[in-house]
Symmetry: C2
Subunit: 374 residues, 2 copies
């Protein structure tokens, strides 16, 4: 791997910004990232509170301030581009970057949450607990090129993103009150992306998310009945069956899960048991930089006539505290596009009841993803 140099600064309103550089001159110690954020920004937006949904036991963040967030700005007003003209400062004070991470200006979770009502409940009612939406929401810019996409990055850049993800996972895991760190990318207007500049996000939650709670309960049940790790057994079973394997490296395998619920879905898991991205060794990170690019490139070839598949790519990581040993790192990438121009909507059965209906089979998805290998 190439070296990555990490430089941390503050934006005008106190938010943190961290550069991850692998290209010269920045990776050498002789040139530093020193550009200052010259904007006259108001105090950083606070996150809000979160309320416990009595019917599900799940926390729901209430982030009313996010209604006003930036929505599909014109290209020349993109806040994720570097500041190329000092008269038009963006969120990134420098005039170029490789990969840069900064705190979201409209966070769902932050270290400056909104006030919680007296007694810590809504309307004085014990059924409705409220807590501050404490945590962190960060933006990860994959490239200073506004028109790029992750699948079009070179492998060095992909490797630097992996380094940034691992670093953010370690850093946010260490924050007080954080229980889970989620690195993800939403790509495409079809899934509501409000900024086109190639970027992902990191959410550090002050609770274990509902999806992870469900997974941990399953993993616990599996361990009790078999003595072994559910996620490891699923990976081994997929590799043994082979019917849904998409690619195999020496340290990573990708497969369509046997009960895939999205029209396009693929999981990627390391062969070694690791809890999160921060625990990957250098050689695993190197291979990941390659196989992740290959996966994304296949997704962009999945449908004829769709050059950029809309997708959600999310890293499932072990929770920070309790039950950490039941988690195991894996990536889930899926698309809501069920055919060119046709979306899979989450209507009554999915959104109302959580009961998924997939209009295709996992084996067909896997066959297509193998067919379009580079």
């Amino acid at each position: 791997m190439t070296d990555v140099r990490r430089t941390e600064h503050q934006l005008a309103d106190g938010r943190r910004i961290i550069y991850y550089d692998h290209r010269e001159p920045y990776v050498s110690l002789t040139v530093a990232r020193v550009a200052k954020d010259t904007r006259d920004l108001p105090e950083a937006e606070r996150s809000g509170t979160m309320r416990l949904d009595a019917l599900t036991g799940e926390w729901v963040a209430v982030a009313a301030h996010r209604m006003t967030r930036t929505h599909l700005p014109a290209t020349h007003e993109c806040p994720l581009c570097p500041t190329r003209d000092p008269a038009f400062p963006t969120e990134v004070p420098d005039d170029d970057y490789d990969v840069v991470v900064f705190e979201n200006r409209f966070p769902s979770f932050s270290s400056r949450p909104g006030p919680v009502p007296a007694g810590g409940v809504v309307d004085g009612e014990p059924l409705w607990p409220v807590r501050p939406a404490l945590g962190r929401c960060e933006v990860v810019c994959f490239s200073s090129d506004h028109t790029a996409s992750f699948s079009g990055l070179d492998v060095d850049r992909s490797r630097t993103v992996v380094e940034a993800w691992a670093d953010r996972t370690a850093a946010l895991t260490a924050l007080d009150g954080v229980e889970q760190v989620f690195c993800f990318e939403n790509r495409g207007e079809e899934i509501g992306v409000t900024l086109h500049h190639p970027h992902g996000q990191v959410y550090a939650y002050p609770f274990v998310t509902p999806r992870t709670e469900t997974l941990l309960a399953q993993a616990e049940r599996h361990r009790r009945s078999t003595g072994s790790s559910l996620l490891r057994d699923v990976l081994d079973a997929e590799r043994k069956a082979g019917t849904r394997i998409v690619l195999e490296g020496s340290q990573w395998s990708a497969y369509v899960p046997a009960a895939a619920r999205w029209p396009v879905e693929v999981h990627l898991a390391p062969h070694r048991d690791v809890p999160d991205l921060a625990a990957l060794d250098s050689s695993e990170r190197d291979e990941l930089a390659h196989v992740y690019l290959e996966l994304l490139r296949r997704l962009d070839r999945y449908y004829d006539g769709v050059d950029r598949l809309p997708y959600i790519a999310g890293w499932h990581q072990a929770p920070v505290g309790d039950r950490r040993e039941l988690g195991r790192l894996h990536l889930q990438v899926f698309s809501v596009l069920r055919a060119p121009g046709k979306l899979k909507y989450l209507a009554g059965s999915e959104s109302g009841m959580g009961a998924w209906v997939n209009d295709t089979t996992p084996e067909r998805i896997a066959a297509r993803l193998r067919e379009i290998a580079s």
Copy 2:
């Protein structure tokens, strides 16, 4: 209430169709619905199978045949209109109807499911159980008028829909293997509606849905710690607090839940403890016909400039068997529209982690829904 006459027939491929009439001449016994389905239909589509997702313990239906279902047909080809010209037969053989229900031609669950692999598992692997997608999917047409919407129906028609829902709930509950019955309406292209004709659906699932499993676990925990019913206590608490009450009848109350997760969300619950729609008495059904119309009319006034709010309206009913006593009937109506022309997307945090962020507060939603009362 007016009397409702129920007439049951078969379509050409053996699917059931049931008319619910409240208008003359059909409600009298002298005129019968006797039109025959003259189409030369192939054998009814089978449903597929369902696979257990090892990571969540949830069943996912695999319905690959649904890919070919009818998608936004031209008005004159609408399969839900009555057959007005015998040369163009639709799904409804009669030339008019009040409310009609028939089995979905492209069902996710049916009494004719697809074959299950040997051993009842995928690839011979015990981690991946497969079962037939046994159950029932029905379509409920609210009006023979293609351009109507539920909110524009008169109260007699609304009452007949309630009668049809109650009847279908009772009938499908009695089917072998059915564990939960879900009556719902998806309204609007924004949530993927493929047919504009005003209609809802009924799904009879061969499992307790994930959302209901979660609710039952919460209700069980609540009963253990307090001795009382969670859903009853939530209703009582909302009525006592009053801050999110939208309307109160003598037998029904509507409120925005204290941890609403959608940009527009309202729940409607009966004052009496009942497990499902079939258990409502005549007077409760009468009031429901009124208050449901009033709720839907307010939704259509929610945003200036949006005449027909896209929404999902779903009836949460008690499961059929085990733990039935923990369920309690309530309606959940929600919209993905967060502003005119702006959708709330389920992106990484929601779709990947099940962690919801709401961009508004439940109290603001309730205030708006009170402000626009008839």
